[in-house]
Symmetry: none
Amino acid sequence: MSRVADPTSRISLLRAAEEVFAERGLIGAKVEEITRRAGMSKGSFYLHFESKEKAFEQVTESFLARIGAMMPKPGHDMPHEPRELLRVWLEQDSQLFDFLWQNRAIVHIILGCQGDHVYLLQAFFRAMQENSCGWVRFWKGRGLFGDEVDEQLAATLICGAYNELYKKMIAAPKKPEVEAWLRVAQGMVVRGFGTTKLIRAYDASVHGAHGDTT
Amino acid sequence: MSRVADPTSRISLLRAAEEVFAERGLIGAKVEEITRRAGMSKGSFYLHFESKEKAFEQVTESFLARIGAMMPKPGHDMPHEPRELLRVWLEQDSQLFDFLWQNRAIVHIILGCQGDHVYLLQAFFRAMQENSCGWVRFWKGRGLFGDEVDEQLAATLICGAYNELYKKMIAAPKKPEVEAWLRVAQGMVVRGFGTTKLIRAYDASVHGAHGDTT
Amino acid sequence: MSRVADPTSRISLLRAAEEVFAERGLIGAKVEEITRRAGMSKGSFYLHFESKEKAFEQVTESFLARIGAMMPKPGHDMPHEPRELLRVWLEQDSQLFDFLWQNRAIVHIILGCQGDHVYLLQAFFRAMQENSCGWVRFWKGRGLFGDEVDEQLAATLICGAYNELYKKMIAAPKKPEVEAWLRVAQGMVVRGFGTTKLIRAYDASVHGAHGDTT
Amino acid sequence: MSRVADPTSRISLLRAAEEVFAERGLIGAKVEEITRRAGMSKGSFYLHFESKEKAFEQVTESFLARIGAMMPKPGHDMPHEPRELLRVWLEQDSQLFDFLWQNRAIVHIILGCQGDHVYLLQAFFRAMQENSCGWVRFWKGRGLFGDEVDEQLAATLICGAYNELYKKMIAAPKKPEVEAWLRVAQGMVVRGFGTTKLIRAYDASVHGAHGDTT
DNA sequence: CATGAATGAGGGTTCATTCAT
DNA sequence: TATGAATGAACCCTCATTCAT
């Protein structure tokens, strides 16, 4: 019975569950290992969760909600100056990657979903893809991406590049210097799909970053 | 003399195993389901495989060997003309994607690896990353990628973009027209990291593709 | 179907079955191992035996019949001279031990019987006990065993001593010189239960064995 | 705090395991039958034992240790008077037979050992044989057994006789009057191998037992 | 709330037996 | 007849879940 119980125990259970689900997947995870890592008894698991599956869903779905809210979205409040836009983009990505680093265990869970829970994986990627698509549309609307750019395809490629960057990050034992990476990724996207105007702004921003003392 | 071994049985088992492993993962897969789909009895599984785990390893490792041999590698025999190079690249990628489409079930298995078998996943991505890295070095050597391009990072981003393209492909119920996609991906890479010389060759190739009657 | 089939194959199967049943017991024995040792195919087992259990019963019961017929029985045709009697006894035991050595595998099977087949074991020991009892009665009838000797108990002890001798024999890799052993055993029985008359005859026979030229 | 472990459960499991192993042997025994007889669920077996084999080993090996400690051993503290010695011997055997009666199920297990566990059987008989041998040597040292007695062979015959007595005992539904049997057995051994001195002491002890009021 | 012993359904594996050739 | 591939019942063991304390 999901009574409130000692909130510390619930949290340690969730943390442990995250870990074990990340390492072994839903089926491979054993309730006993989760409770052992949480320093609790096997029985207490069921004071907090209805079942192993429910715990899994709770861990993942709450994360999916958070990541959904977290994803940078293009909006009316975006600055008009391209250089400024690029800066905002970089900053938001940086924040996103921070968040993903914090929650790398859960992301791992979602990426490893199989069987009856693939919908999580699909939801995750659909969300990313759509968000990315929204951005491509935004850039095109501003005349900074070429008109001929296929929105879906560009979004796919961009998503993929960033995903791989993400995997590279979590493969490291401690968080690497992601900002430099993100800048390079931005460079690829800008040159790959941007109009001359955007590319020029990007080049300026790179120079500026190096010599903005002028 | 003896009842002759049904030659299809081993193959149907492998196919069914692939399917079920792809859907459920190693642990989630049930031997009984594999044999049911293969239209055989539970016991016959063990005429062909030592254990469920061995079957899994056989399915995946033989694929890893094949894909390793299949991956296009840059070599001395590459043409010197940039346009020609781009054509070869596209062609090879196209073949690779064909192969991956044929084996999408196994790829799915490998991508979903967890627990004691993550090494499969890691081997897979390491192989891709290294191959990609080799290509970036090759392009730089030919003066077609900028000297300032970070090989590792570029390889990561390119890999990621192609991976995503791959996932987009296998998400479709029937094989989509991948060549057009690959051309766009090539465009992104060329513009993202290539020198003016390469970009010009690419633009020419695109025009040529459209109107090579001139 | 127990058709006659090639009699060699039936015999090699029986021999192999004996071996394997002796080593592993009825349940532990695997049909495949039996046929492998017989150099035949798994299926051929069922051309000769209805089932594993039936094969087991055949192997053991036919032996029980043979051993029953073989056991030396006291009769009217026994010589009257005590020394002669002792000689016949020794000779018969010697023959019996030969036979048991030849069939040590089956004896081992019977001694290891469990479960639904303990009746074999019980039949075997009952037969021995009764036979032994008959002998004790016979010796008493001839006035060569003390009147006060408890027939049942003496039979039990004698049986036990000979059984152990038998086990000592089969524990050896090749057949040891059993006759000397049997003579010692005879000595113990004679002195243990015999009247002075018998003991004197025994002593004489021992001397005679050494120096019967007198 | 927790549901307290039923202290009887381990013991009933051991008892049931003993029973079933005795009836069916290691391979023939079914875990489910053991737990059923213990009035418990199948799973609980594994709360107490690592595996069926381990349970078997535990049951038997702990018994082998106890029986080893229990076996009467000849020592310096033995009385010097032959009649006294015979009395002590009888008493110790009586105790041993009591113990064996208590543990008849386990003895049965060991006697029925086959396959990979014959070493139990062998250890058991080796221990008995050696112990018996020690006694023969002791009697010879005291000049109560003939010098010409072959120690090994005598030990074998004596062991065998006592073994058979033991089997006779456990074949009975309730414990029979073993002391009388043991006295007869002693008689056979004394007469069979003893010197006149010992035989006279034995005869005296038998008379004494009957008419020690004199 | 917390504990961990107890439960029992479920799944991997074995192997006696059958059957197509 | 002979073969050995195929079958499927049965059994050991695991582990999610329940329950008595």
